[in-house]
Amino acid sequence: MSVSYENSKIVFQGIKAAGITSLSALPETWLGLLLQQAERDPDITLIQVAREEEAIGIAAGAYFAGERHMLLMQNHGFLAAMNGIVSLAQLYGIPLCMLIAMRGHWGEPYPWHTRGGIVTEGVLRALNIPFEYARDPNIVGRQIREAYTFSQSALSPVALLLTRDLMEDAL
């Protein structure tokens, strides 16, 4: 399996079409091609973090500054960012638009990803974070735009889960 170049491009175009000018990210395999495009784009400020919880603070700062910001992370990074999501974003009513690589789910060959993949949806539900799965390159652009719009109107974290169907090329 390899990361889909075509669909990475489509997701990045969706981010651009949503008017996003600022991204925070912790690089991971499925997000790699996306982040390479963000690095090359002069209209995007890309901030790489050492640990995903930092990005919750950065996203809050970007929001206060009036910037259109999205967060890119793996689902295990989402789990690592938990207190920031709860005790900064949810506590103060700060929107977060998170694009989350959904590792450890259907088709996952690597044992180390599986436990995080199994609990991700349950944690999102427990935290009352609205989420959708992105599987289809034909509609992912619209899903990204709608996720951002909803985060801003609800003043809430929202999550779009980037699945294997979208991010990997089928053999």
Binding site: Q48, R51, E53, A60, G61, A62, L88, G93, I94
Partner: protein, 193 residues
Amino acid sequence: MKRAECIGMLYPDLGDKVVVTIMGACAQELYDLGHQENFFYLQHAMGLASSIGLGLAMHLPREKVVVLDGDGSVLMNLGTLATLARYRPKNLVHIIFDNGSLLSTGGFDSHTTSGVTDLAAMARGAGVEHVTAVDSVMAFGEAAIDAFGRDDLSVIVAKVAAVGPNHYGMDLQLPENAFRFKRWIGARKGGGR
């Protein structure tokens, strides 16, 4: 020296800065001097004040951003020092009040007590060029003047006594603080700055 003395010294210069402070004693001491719309009090999420400061500074290049942080909070998010150094926002002043104590939770020693862990050395090691460690009010004032005037990322580590206010409480709800803080910034941007 006391943190309250340092904050009192800074206060007259904070009127036009974007200010983020950590929870507890630090927030209360700033609030007690007189709340301003440009102050954001991070009353939880320990460790993220400097990350908020980075997000603000990178997107508001014409504003000076000041973060009032503490040893306990920085120790919860040490990666932030490396991220700050990497992106090096010229308009960010990161002040770490190091009282060697988790004061608000009963005064347990933090890792910086007795000089075991040196946060200034860690900031330098992370790659921050302008790091100043101070332990007197006079030296703190000089370091703050330098940092406010410098067109580069500055970190000040101020050794302070483990004492705080004798009361806690603010007439300010948390989302209200966030809304008004954002509105203050927006008005400055809209004002042609």
